[in-house]
Amino acid sequence: MLYREAGQFKTSYAADQAVFPLREDRVGLVLTLLVAFIVVPVFANDFFLASIMIPFLIFACATIGLNILTGYAGQLSLGTGAFMGVGAYAAYKLTTFFPEANIILLVVVSGVFSAGIGIVFGLPSLRIKGLYLAVTTLAAQFFLEWCFIRIPWLYNYNASGAIEVPQREAFGVIACGPAADPLTRYFIVLCVTLAITFLMKNVIRGHIGRSWMMIRDMDIAAELIGIRPLYAKLSAFAVSSYICGVAGAMMVFFWLGAAEPSAFSISLSFQILFMAILGGLGSLMGSYFGAAFLWILPVLLRFTLPGLGIDIGAETVQHLTFMITGALIIFFLIAEPHGLARLWQIGKEKLRVWPFPYG
């Protein structure tokens, strides 16, 4: 009743091929953007911005990156954490060399280094597939992590082995470093993540995205009808690593403020992979759902369980958070193995015919 296409006629090709052909979806999008750009900044406190929204957006961005590779191009990767690390270390070195440069620009450029590394480690994908490819990306993960620890040049010979974000400006505002306002950092992360999402949505609809999906669905058939696996697979690796690299750079510069190599360990790769699987492989929307579910939920549980007036120890809260989140993951994956995005889609389909499902 509220959500249906009846009466919305498309009179041009442009209208027919719009990203959101339904008026209700467009309204929903505008409302969501309003919430993100106005409601959240006005009402949220620093904790909500710095510990919930900023990491959520960064994880969503990284999940989109992995989703390009695993969800759209079908190449299973366990090296996401390391690719994020490459972006972070590249941004750190860039800002060391060019302290005056706009930090947002450097963060965006740092993804290029990550893309380069991604292409190199994507080469084996031309020969090996599936779980075997996962093992070679795992090698990338360990090798790059080793580099972060053992090449002191990467962290400017810092005695602690960590990279610490200096204060940097963008457009005359302090954008990162300890003095940066969480609101500024939130806006930067929000804009970068949204820009990437928008760009990817259109790339996926175009011939590049279609070639990725053809490779994913059946690579031999795709090759027979003229898709070159070399370009398709390596471009997927490049784009995916680029996005992950930007996400990693944002993670260090706009969220953590400093990072040890262990921040980019295999557990980060798994975290992102679970976000992609739980959210829904092959869905940009799902990347946001997955990131929200696996990041926001545990944080909220951790900080609200004690607030409910139940007197339990801090470590019990931790255990409870693990248990509740774990149980919910199992529940959702049983309810819908294709992830939260699929649930969302089913919901929308049901809404279209509501309240007369048999009409």
């Binding site: 300890p178 953590l256 403020g257 400093a258 040890e260 900080f303 801090a314």
Partner: protein, 440 residues
């Protein structure tokens, strides 16, 4: 569908709103960043118990400090830097007086934030050694001694056993460390000392993930056969290292640990062969102090503590107590200086800077013999206080040396240089904005 969403949304809003409300009363709010879970819990639990028990005891026995109750809230970090920062962000809005990160990684993250948020950090004998330079790091305190003091003290003790530091020439000293900010912190000094005294250093990094599997490192130790071993370990790394050392029959009396490697459980893991294992310390062990008896009476026996009966008074538990003594005394100092009962974080900073725990005060607290006087000054946020070496006798730790000073003359200039280096690599580092708080 819509209804469900609405209900979810409402619950979400209610939940986020609630978290902020809890602490607005007249109390002194002290968040404790602890870890009772994860691979570092073995070391984290006794510390957490000691810290919270001493503060709880002050609440129960004296009604707080200066008549104001303490609100103690633990936040679980799991020794994870991200979670630690999250705990910091989540609790600082409640009027936190001071942070005890209990992880060098978390400390490094919080140091730049401290001067912006104006909340002091008390990284008691851990964290960034250079933070002892009060002029560069006005918001960070690391009494009673820094890692570099600790390392120099170990070298000094080794030198004494060899009959003078000059006899270290040509010796080989192995350094096994947790490959994280914590373990890497003393390396610059170790290399400097090796150059000064002509000994050779072999390094054995233990990655955080491999803490419980050190056989390859100890295989190398057996091959290199260093004359002495020094360990910078924490959590599950300590008991594993002690066990591995006994396995390769390394002479335990030549195996030194920093103060954080001196948990009772750490040494116990080596069984009877671990006798003679030496670690540094800066406070007493055991429960034979009036203040600890008070903790037993008011907290442990009243069921307000999580400590297991036989772990009460162990080394790391007492370390937690020592940490809380510093917090409590700094609060008291701040109250005296400002004349206010309910102090804020900036007063707390002044209190920490004028911390002066004298012999009389130690007696008054019921901790005679437990600790040495501690004095912090505006320029020197550590004090480089005396330490002693203790030895494991199979049951408990026994002092194996008198209290002695670390090589302050060697360490101080290096600390200054390190602080300068830090400022340079973190430019623009803010100039000292807060004045030296003068004691009353």
């Amino acid at each position: 569908m819509m209804l469900k969403k609405l209900a979810l949304g409402a619950a979400f809003v209610a939940m986020t709103g609630m978290a902020a409300e809890a602490f607005a009363q007249e109390s002194l709010y002290i968040p404790l960043l602890t870890y009772r879970t994860g691979p570092f819990a073995g070391s984290g639990i006794p510390i957490a118990n000691g810290m919270s028990d001493y503060l709880t005891m002050l609440n129960e026995r004296d009604g707080g400090i200066g008549g104001v109750k303490l609100t103690i809230e633990e936040c679980e970090t799991g020794y994870d830097t991200q979670k630690g920062v999250e705990c910091y962000e989540g609790t600082k809005g409640n009027g936190a007086l001071v942070y005890n990160p209990y992880s060098t990684g978390i400390t490094l993250q919080l140091i730049p934030k401290a001067s912006v948020d104006k909340v002091p950090i008390l990284s008691m004998a851990y964290g960034l050694s250079a933070a002892a330079e009060g002029d560069t790091f006005p918001w960070v305190f690391n009494p009673p001694a820094t890692y570099w003091d600790g390392l120099s003290a170990i070298i000094k003790d080794i030198g004494e056993r060899e009959g003078g530091l000059d006899n270290l020439q040509g010796k080989k000293i192995g350094y096994i460390f947790l490959d994280a900010g914590y373990g890497r912190e003393p390396i610059p000094l170790l290399e400097q000392l090796a150059e000064n005294y002509g000994f050779e250093v072999t390094q054995y990094p233990v990655p955080g993930k491999e803490m419980q599997n050190q056989s390859s490192q100890w295989l190398n130790v057996r091959r290199d056969n260093p004359d002495y071993m020094i360990m910078w370990g924490w959590g599950a790394m300590n008991p594993t290292a002690v066990k591995e050392a006994t396995k390769i029959r390394y002479p335990m009396d030549k195996f030194y640990g920093v103060w954080w490697s001196g948990g009772d459980d750490d040494a116990r893991a080596g069984g009877a062969q671990a006798n003679g294992y030496r670690t540094l310390n800066f406070h007493g062990t055991g429960a034979d102090y009036p203040a600890l008896a008070d903790i037993k009476e008011h907290v442990v026996d009243a069921g307000k503590s999580q400590v297991e009966g036989d772990k009460f008074g162990e080394n790391l538990y007492n370390r937690g107590v020592y940490n809380s003594v510093l917090i409590a005394e700094a609060i008291r100092t701040a109250q005296e200086m400002t004349g206010k009962d309910v102090i804020n974080a900036e007063d707390m900073r002044a209190g920490l800077e004028n911390l002066d725990i004298t012999e009389e005060r130690i007696k008054e607290m019921g901790l005679e013999g437990f600790m040495r006087p501690v004095k912090v000054s505006c320029e020197d946020h550590s004090g480089h206080h005396e330490v002693y070496v203790q030895e494991w006798d199979g049951q408990t730790w026994v002092p194996a040396s008198d209290w002695f000073s670390p090589m302050t003359d060697v360490v101080s200039p290096l600390l200054e240089a390190a602080a300068e280096e830090y400022v340079k690599s973190n430019a623009p580092w803010p100039e000292r904005q807060v004045e030296c708080a003068s004691g009353s």
